[in-house]
């Protein structure tokens, strides 16, 4: 086996803009949203480039991906340590949370059933205080 042969990652205006935008936001956003936001702020970037930049960031572990209920991918700047998410399904507000017990539970259950190379995925969805019905009669 030879070198992994990973291309050099260049720093460009576009990639910088995508990461900077993600740093300002505190919730999960779709690639389409991010593209529109960049366009609004005048920092125009091609849609394909937004997708490529996000993919690179995910590969580098700087960004987390999440699939919404309709299959659309949403991205968020996250800490590199393992964690789960508490997401507001209305405004996207997200809190990173840890749950050590579930880590052990997942490993144990997987082992009991003969599963190896285990990963788990745990997300909690709810309505945050600002979006709670009653704060403003929405609908």
């Amino acid at each position: 086996m030879s070198a992994p042969e990973v291309p050099v990652r260049r720093q460009t205006r576009q990639r910088t803009a995508v990461l900077a935008l993600l740093d300002e936001l505190d919730g999960f956003r779709t690639a389409q949203d991010l593209h529109a936001l960049l366009r609004e702020r005048g920092d125009a970037v091609g849609l394909a480039t937004v997708y490529r930049a996000l993919q690179a960031l995910v590969d580098d572990g700087l960004v987390d991906v999440l699939r919404s209920e309709d299959g659309e991918a949403a991205y968020r700047r996250c800490s590199p340590v393992h964690h789960h998410h508490l997401v507001c399904r209305s405004c996207g507000l997200t809190v990173e949370v840890a749950d050590p017990p579930v880590e052990r539970w997942a490993a144990r259950v997987a082992a009991e059933h003969g599963f190896a190379d285990v990963q788990h995925q745990l997300e909690v969805f709810g309505t945050c205080r600002s979006c709670a019905p009653g704060a403003a009669a929405q609908r």
Copy 2:
């Protein structure tokens, strides 16, 4: 408030075939897979109908949906009680598992952060014994 106005659910050859097929399989399958399987077995059903039947089954709580990493939806006949899944990412084999602690944890964490109307989603992915590398030098 009047009656929910849910249309009567008819029993047709196509819906019966979809549910019967799901009953025979023990892993998550995409709508496309199910459509192809039905076609192979001669029980031809239109693709749109497969989607509609699956949606109806999900609404009735007879089938669970899961989004694969690339956003494709996968369906499986599941028990109606709340549970999580241990899924083989190679063959799709799935085991239903329960984890009472995580239920309480999710509720507590959500409450701490002022989130209401909480749901959670927990899936464990791994490689089952039959698919383990070494059982057969695949690929």
